[in-house]
């Protein structure tokens, strides 16, 4: 599946820890791992809470689901006006989860490198806060009857 299949209206779901959520509403920057973090692509798995099913969920308090619209991803960032960093979705299916995708940060014009991210903590904080600000919490799933 080519990554250019992402449409700006596509939705991604990301598992969030309780500690990274303020007032059951706001996602905090430390929820965003760089240079990439995992999501489920709604197109192939439209049950948001499925993203909580990963083994990590049990022990580390992953209780919330964040919803991110591809078209809402922030514009490229730069600390010096020379090197720009951009975030984009990438489909990265794994054996147990075809919908698995990642939001990846890479230098503009370069391939994504999992070992590369900005050195400036200020820029990283800005990127994390911007992405977190675009993420909307899905009301907690309540099993019926």
């Amino acid at each position: 599946v080519s990554n250019n299949l992402f449409d700006e209206n596509d939705v991604l779901f990301h598992a969030l820890r309780e500690i990274h959520v303020k007032d059951n509403r706001t996602v905090l920057p430390d929820a965003i791992r760089l240079p990439s973090f995992s999501c489920n692509w709604e197109r192939y798995r439209d049950f948001p809470e499925a993203v909580l099913a990963a083994p990590k969920s049990d022990s580390e308090g992953y209780l919330h689901v964040g919803r991110l619209v591809v078209g809402d991803l922030p514009l490229p960032f730069s600390a010096d006006g020379k090197v720009y960093w951009e975030v984009s979705p990438a489909h990265d299916p794994i054996e147990s989860n075809f919908s698995h995708s990642e939001i990846r940060l890479r230098r503009q014009g370069e391939e994504y490198d999992p070992d590369t991210k900005p050195s400036s903590p200020k820029l990283k904080a800005e990127i994390r806060s911007s992405i977190a600000g675009k993420m909307r919490l899905i009301p907690r799933y309540s099993p019926r009857g």
């Binding site: 500690i19 706001t26 903590p121 904080a125 800005e126 911007s130």
Partner: protein, 175 residues
């Protein structure tokens, strides 16, 4: 008076005057600073016998983070410096956690926003304020000295205690 100058003046008035009760900080406003009520005391270091309960609680939080990240050194040292400033201002963090990069994050909440101070293993401190409704943020590096850490904490206290309708003011000393 320029905002940064006004705050620096307040700081040095505090030092020269011997300081006052930090609980009186809330009386200071950005537009009408009053030199008689200043946020900093000259007590300097925390006195173990006279610590606020929340400071002890935050120290316990930090110890928990330390237990899980025993290889970290610099971020704990920086966190201690930050905690000194927070205690001086009686500015209690709402949440303390391991940062997503190696380090410690101090979060401060208000109803429509939050502020963050990150102490990192890279020997850097970053501060951030976020207005949730407008999705606007301000991020700045905090130089590693007590004066600059105090000023950053001062700005964050002003941010978290400001009412949503109040106008924000740019801070010129940020780097």
């Amino acid at each position: 008076m320029d905002d940064a100058l006004s705050r620096c003046a307040l700081y040095f008035v505090a030092i020269l005057s011997g300081g006052t009760n930090s609980d009186s900080f809330g009386a200071i406003t950005h537009n009408a600073p009053r030199a008689t009520v200043v946020p900093f005391s000259t007590s300097g270091l925390l006195s173990n016998g006279n610590q606020r309960n929340w400071v002890k609680q935050i120290k316990n939080n930090i110890d928990d983070i330390r237990a899980e990240n025993q290889q970290w050194k610099a971020s704990f040292h920086l966190a201690e410096l930050v905690l000194l400033s927070l205690d001086e201002l009686n500015l209690k963090p709402d949440r303390v956690m391991a940062a997503s990069d190696d380090g410690i994050s101090f979060y401060f909440f208000r109803s429509d926003g939050y502020a963050l101070i990150q102490c990192l293993e890279s020997k850097e401190i970053v501060a951030l304020t976020k207005e949730e409704e407008s999705d606007t943020q301000e991020v700045w590096d905090v130089p590693i000295d007590l004066t600059d850490i105090n000023l950053a904490a001062f700005d964050i206290k002003r941010f978290v205690t400001r009412q949503p309708a109040e106008e924000s003011s740019p801070v010129s000393y940020r780097v």
